[in-house]
């Protein structure tokens, strides 16, 4: 039923209840006196027929698709280290994706789609199967499958960002978040933003469950939609331009990276995907449509010319790259394998173990974790051409044996995800 009709009926019922209170009579006495036309029985009958027909059609479709859906259920994925153990041990470690090493076309990270409207992108949201786009002076709703615009209105004044949960659109303004009913496009109520003068202006918004997450510079807060209670989340990177939520984790966009933000419990560190070096995002927006991240970016290219691209971001290019880490680079040359633990070159794996044990003992190796506790610095392994899987796996195991809990290898992670994606297809 139309939201406006529901709201109007609620207001009428509110008046009836208040009249009953003022006249000191039972609610039933007021309720019994109808002042609006009752629904026609034929309308009920027609609605019942439509509902029954739809239910039967859905049931048939569901039965037809059930087997296909069961076949597509994703299997649990192994960790990067487990995946590495299943690869041929004498094979060469897969190289880093070239997008990390050189300037590449934007299409290496975005599958382009054409978004409707004109002008700068101001926000993206997804609700009830429609994508809402704040662009230029217009607020547009379009079907993500066909790209067809189904609704359009002028942009709410002072819009800084756009988000949606299952029912409402949330418009980020300077000092508040205003809830809009997407059907009636009328403001319902406002949530005040917490004090943020010291953190800078509000820049990005997204919804996660009953929470509305807002970023002011690095600071990210989650505001309870119902109570207005504010929770602080682990800080994000500097220069965040937009926020999106995949249902669990928050994602954000910077000038040159898309980051998957750390979670509140500290179980997952921040991960990042570099954008091509020629791409400097001036203004961006992102929203998850199902499990796909739809992004829109106004950026400058390598020559400094303004450009625009929108589309589904290739998340399989995502790499695990902690902000602060100890790097171990592994080279292969004529003398064998050479390890660089930080700046220190080492030839034998046993000495790598000793060096890592020394680092573990060093208090400077403890860094602040996402939940405020101090944790051991993560290790990032990087294998150069010629390094075999078994050499990388051996270094990985040494790091784990010494006590490092977070060991990453971006190229293995990318290869694992690509393999999983290819298997899924």
């Amino acid at each position: 039923m139309n939201a406006q009709v529901v709201a109007e009926r609620a207001r009428e019922r509110m008046l009836s209840a208040e009249i009953a209170a003022v006249l000191q009579v039972e609610l039933a006495s007021v309720d019994a006196v109808g002042v609006t036309a009752p629904r026609r029985r034929s309308a009920w009958l027609a609605a019942a027929v439509v509902v029954l027909g739809t239910a039967i059609a859905c049931g048939v479709a569901w039965l037809q698709q059930r087997d296909a859906r069961l076949a597509q259920e994703p299997e649990p994925q192994p960790s990067s280290r487990e995946w590495l153990g299943k690869q041929p041990q004498d094979a060469e470690v897969p190289p880093l994706p070239s997008l990390l090493l050189s300037s590449l076309f934007v299409s290496s990270v975005v599958e382009p789609v054409v978004l409707p409207g004109e002008g700068p992108i101001r926000g993206l949201a997804h609700v009830d199967g429609l994508v809402w786009l704040a662009r230029g002076d217009a607020l547009l709703a379009f079907d993500p499958a066909s790209g067809k615009v189904v609704r359009q209105r002028s942009l709410p004044a002072g819009l800084l960002g756009l988000a949606a949960d299952e029912r409402f659109l949330y418009v980020l303004e300077k000092d508040a978040v205003t809830l809009f009913d997407p059907l009636a496009l009328e403001p319902m109520r406002s949530l005040p933003l917490p004090e943020h003068e010291a953190d800078g202006p509000a820049r990005a918004i997204c919804c996660r469950g009953d929470q509305v997450c807002v970023a002011f510079g690095r600071r990210i807060v989650a505001i309870d939609r119902r109570s207005g209670e504010v929770h602080e989340l682990p800080p994000g990177p500097t220069g965040m331009q937009w926020l999106a939520c995949d249902g669990k984790a928050l994602w954000g966009g910077e000038e040159r990276r898309i980051v998957k933000l750390a979670d509140a419990g500290g179980a997952r560190p921040m991960e990042a995907m570099d954008l091509p070096r020629t791409m400097t995002v001036q203004r961006g927006a992102g929203v998850f449509v199902g499990d796909q991240l739809l992004g829109a970016f106004d950026f400058t290219d390598g020559a400094g010319a303004p450009q625009h691209v929108a589309g589904y971001v290739r998340l399989d290019a995502m790499i695990a790259a902690p902000e602060e880490c100890l790097s171990i680079k592994i080279h292969a040359d004529q003398q064998g394998v050479k390890y660089e633990v930080g700046p220190k070159p080492i030839r034998q794996l046993a000495r790598v173990q000793l060096e890592l044990q020394r680092i573990v003992q060093d208090p400077r190796s403890m860094i602040p974790g996402p939940n405020g506790k101090r944790v051991l610095i993560p290790i990032v392994l990087q294998a150069y051409p010629g390094v075999r899987v078994e050499d990388l796996a051996a270094a990985w195991d040494v790091a784990l044996a010494v006590g490092f809990e977070q060991v990453y290898c971006p190229q293995v992670e990318v290869a694992r995800r690509r393999a999983a994606s290819a298997k899924g297809k």
Binding site: A7, E18, S29, T36
Partner: protein
């Protein structure tokens, strides 16, 4: 107040009292920490809404409850209490012309039917319905004016 809230959310009038009872029974069973009238009101409304939502199976019906809840919040403000609205309505009813006040009392208070009211007030039955609708619209406008601070 809780019964009015449930009624606004769409509870059937013959279920309202039962639901209020169930809310209090549940709260007494689960325990309740008194943090003042505002917090208590919000808590009870939350329990009542959840209880009503449990009775609504379809997504559309649940959405209607949520929308009605939003309407309540918008109309009653942050406190979520409708006492100030009732006081405003009382003043509006007091300010009605005698005929309007009588119509309201006879119709809602005494339960007189439209035919009887028509005969009493010199109107046809449909005229009573129209008069009642206008009366309600006038009262709504009056309450909103008073809540905005305009006499």
């Amino acid at each position: 107040m809780l019964s009015r809230y449930l009624y606004v959310l769409g509870a059937r009038v013959d279920r309202v009292d039962d639901l209020v009872q169930e809310v209090f029974v549940l709260v007494l069973q689960k325990g309740f920490e008194d943090r003042g009238p505002a917090a208590a009101g919000a808590f009870l409304r939350g329990v009542a809404k959840n209880m009503l939502l449990r009775e609504r199976r379809s997504r559309a019906a649940r959405r209607e409850v949520e929308l009605a809840d939003e309407t309540w919040r918008v109309q009653c403000g942050d406190a979520g209490d409708d006492d100030h609205r009732i006081e405003a309505l009382r003043q509006c009813v007091d300010g009605l012309p005698a005929k309007g006040r009588d119509l309201l009392q006879r119709c809602y208070g005494d339960g007189a039917g439209r035919a009887a009211l028509g005969a009493e007030f010199g109107m046809v039955a449909d005229g009573v319905k129209t008069a009642l609708r206008r009366l309600r619209a006038g009262l709504r406008a009056c309450v909103e004016r008073r809540l905005r601070g305009e006499a």
